[in-house]
């Protein structure tokens, strides 16, 4: 597990020239190469490309033409599940509206993203996403993109099994700001993250790789066991 983030980052960088070529075929939407820079804001939670897996957010391979909230192995918010049930399919138009203002599109979404007001940047991002959807056979081999700010952690820290009951007590402190129902009205959603992502994020704050002063302070005094307990609780929290 050690160094996984670094490996991914290297593969991601190796991918950029290939994306430049692909951009030519996507000019009618936007510039996919520029979109790969916008993607940096998404890649903390979403993976894309061969081998991509669901993480804090669902994997985004083949998202075009997919019904909302339809990956069988991802735990979606009630809002997106309802949208999918109501027939929302991800198209250029629906994705554009969702990315422009996620909470207007689906008020209870757990996607902690304030929205992207710049239509050109959205078009670039959609062009980038589309490269992983339209003709997958034409897409060069690529690894999932890097998670940002991934700390170096000893395997035994990642292997710690947290006590969810302890986590529930500790979580009360988080829930002064982060909502238990997973909605985001200005403070990011932290429910249903894979435990490993949660642990990595908290250690990233502890090591001050992530910049937020409140979170650096809160994480800074949590023990490894407490972080594992919180991760275990929030991964399985009831909606």
């Amino acid at each position: 597990m050690r160094g996984r983030g670094t490996l991914r980052l290297a593969l991601c960088l190796a991918l950029i020239p290939a994306l430049g070529i692909k951009a030519l075929s996507a000019t009618e939407i936007g510039n996919a190469e520029n979109g790969s820079a916008v993607w940096a804001d998404c890649s903390g939670c979403h993976e894309i490309g061969p081998g991509a897996e669901n993480a804090t957010g669902p994997k985004l391979n083949g998202v075009f033409g997919r019904r909302a909230a339809s990956l069988p192995d991802f735990n979606y918010s009630k809002s997106l599940t309802r949208a999918g049930r109501d027939g929302v399919v991800w198209t250029l138009e629906t994705l554009d509206a969702y990315i422009a203002n996620p909470r207007t599109f689906a008020s209870g979404t757990r996607m902690s993203y304030p929205g992207l007001g710049d239509a050109d940047k959205r078009a670039d991002l959609l062009a980038f996403l589309r490269d992983f959807s339209d003709r997958p056979r034409d897409i060069p081999e690529a690894a999932p993109t890097a998670r940002r700010d991934v700390p170096e952690l000893a395997p035994e820290i990642l292997a710690l099994k947290g006590d969810p009951e302890f986590g529930e007590y500790l979580a009360a402190e988080c829930q002064t700001c982060h909502r238990a129902d997973g909605t985001d009205e200005g403070i990011p959603s932290i429910t249903h993250w894979p435990a490993e992502n949660f642990v990595l994020a908290m250690h990233a704050y502890r090591q001050k790789l992530r910049p937020h002063p409140v979170m650096q302070m809160m994480a800074g005094r949590l023990t490894e066991e407490e972080i594992a307990a919180l991760a275990a609780y929030f991964e399985t929290i009831a909606d």
């Binding site: 007590y169 829930q175 002064t176 200005g186 002063p213």
Partner: protein, 421 residues
């Protein structure tokens, strides 16, 4: 840490066994009475009911049907929030969590008998009592002012009609008039609150009445986030705000509501609006219950928020004397969770964990110019002690200040959901 924790858990287990016994013999659910439906009381009631899955009988004693949060009420004065956005009701606490809402003032506490008397005459028996009444004002702390004068010189330090009155007065002030704030001495509710209020009043005056002046009469040498406020006032409201500190006699202040005068160390100032925030003490029921000290606050055990005077009584939030935490909604919410966890462990035998506390206070200086200060705390035998802290820096860029403000909106949504369900 381990020794502390073991000793703490051991104490809980022992007292729990002794004190829970009567409730078990009576074959009724253990009863917890919570006095005060503000941040501390409502949070504690909700966590008690939620986490005990109905094993506890929780009654919230609160005369009001609607609670208006004091936090963010300055933003209403500044025109950034609607008044109704501060309003919260108890219907989820009663409907979703099975909490009984007794809509009366608590008028008496008999700790020997374990009962609370309500203004309606009803007597409630308790196995544990939580007192979270917020603040009351110290009589005579600002000579010339008492509660009867609050219609002329509002305190607006308990949110509601007082806040609306102050906003109306600011908006109706004559052109070029003077808004005066008599700031409180330490300790008081919401340390940055008076200075955020000055910022919000200045924001209104800058648009509607730009030649108006603001005068702060402050008995304190220094105050919370001082450097950030002073920098912001210079940037957004140059020349509008003057603060007189104790070195110029501000500790010797008297008001004359009939004449709209403020007398500072013998000098008479004519003012147009006067916001008097008097010295404060624990809400009156704390003294009635006999859990306050000579300073007017209620000392508590830092490990549990239990009163130093009575382990069956817990005091939360502004009313408590606990150590380093500021009197804030965030603090009250944090303390309420420790008390709820402790009470549940004592009455139902659930697991007890070491206390953890934290606080963050956001303030708005002008549109999209938000700042924050915060700290985390541990319980020592002596007090709740600060272990780490942070504060916004002067000279931060506009994007960061805007993000800080937007974060505060998210916090408001989060904490009110955490308090009221």
């Amino acid at each position: 840490m381990n020794i502390d924790r073991r000793r703490f858990l051991g104490t809980i287990a022992a007292t729990g066994a002794v004190l829970a016994a009567p409730a078990a013999i009576g074959q009724t659910r253990p009863r917890v009475v919570v006095i005060g439906g503000g941040t501390g009381g409502a949070t504690c009631a909700r966590y008690l009911a939620k986490d005990s899955d109905g094993a506890l009988d929780v009654t919230l004693v609160e005369p009001a049907e609607v609670y208006y949060t004091c936090f963010f009420s300055n933003l209403y004065i500044g025109g950034f929030r609607e008044f109704e956005s501060l309003a919260h009701r108890y219907d989820k606490l009663t409907g979703d969590y099975g909490i009984t809402h007794a809509r009366f003032m608590a008028t008496g506490v008999d700790r020997a008998a374990g009962t609370v008397t309500l203004a309606g005459g009803e007597v409630l028996a308790y196995d544990r009592l939580v007192i979270a009444p917020g603040i009351d004002f110290v009589d005579g702390s600002v000579p010339g002012w008492d509660l009867a004068q609050a219609e002329v010189m509002p305190h607006a330090y308990k949110a509601g009609p007082q806040t609306q009155l102050l906003k109306r007065q600011v908006e109706a002030m004559r052109e070029g008039g003077t808004f005066c704030m008599v700031a409180p001495p330490n300790p008081y509710r919401c340390p940055p609150g008076p200075y955020e209020r000055v910022s919000m009043v200045a924001h209104v005056l800058k648009a509607k009445n730009p030649t108006a002046k603001i005068l702060i009469v402050d008995p304190k040498e220094k105050y919370s986030k001082q450097g950030l406020f002073e920098e912001g006032w210079e940037k957004h409201y140059p020349g509008m705000i003057t603060r007189i500190g104790p070195d110029f006699g501000a500790a010797n202040v008297e008001v004359r509501p009939d004449a709209m005068e403020v007398v500072i160390d013998g000098e008479v100032e004519k003012v147009d609006v006067c916001n008097v925030i008097p010295a404060q003490k624990a809400g009156t029921i704390s003294a009635t219950a006999g859990v306050t000290d000579d300073g007017g606050w209620a000392p508590v055990n830092p490990h549990s928020m239990a009163s130093r005077a009575d382990p069956r009584v817990f005091v939360l939030g502004d009313a408590s004397a606990q150590g380093d935490m500021p009197k804030s909604g965030f603090s009250a919410n944090s303390q309420a969770k420790v008390a709820a966890m402790t009470i549940r462990a004592e009455l139902t035998g659930s697991k007890a964990f070491p206390a953890k506390y934290s606080n963050t206070c956001w303030s708005l200086i002008d549109t999209d110019d938000g700042v924050k200060v915060g700290a985390s705390y541990v319980a020592t035998d002596e007090k709740i002690a600060s272990v780490d802290s942070f504060i916004s820096q002067t000279g931060e860029d506009a994007d960061l200040r805007k993000a800080t403000y937007e974060e505060s909106l998210g916090w408001y949504a989060g904490i009110t959901a955490d308090i009221f369900g």
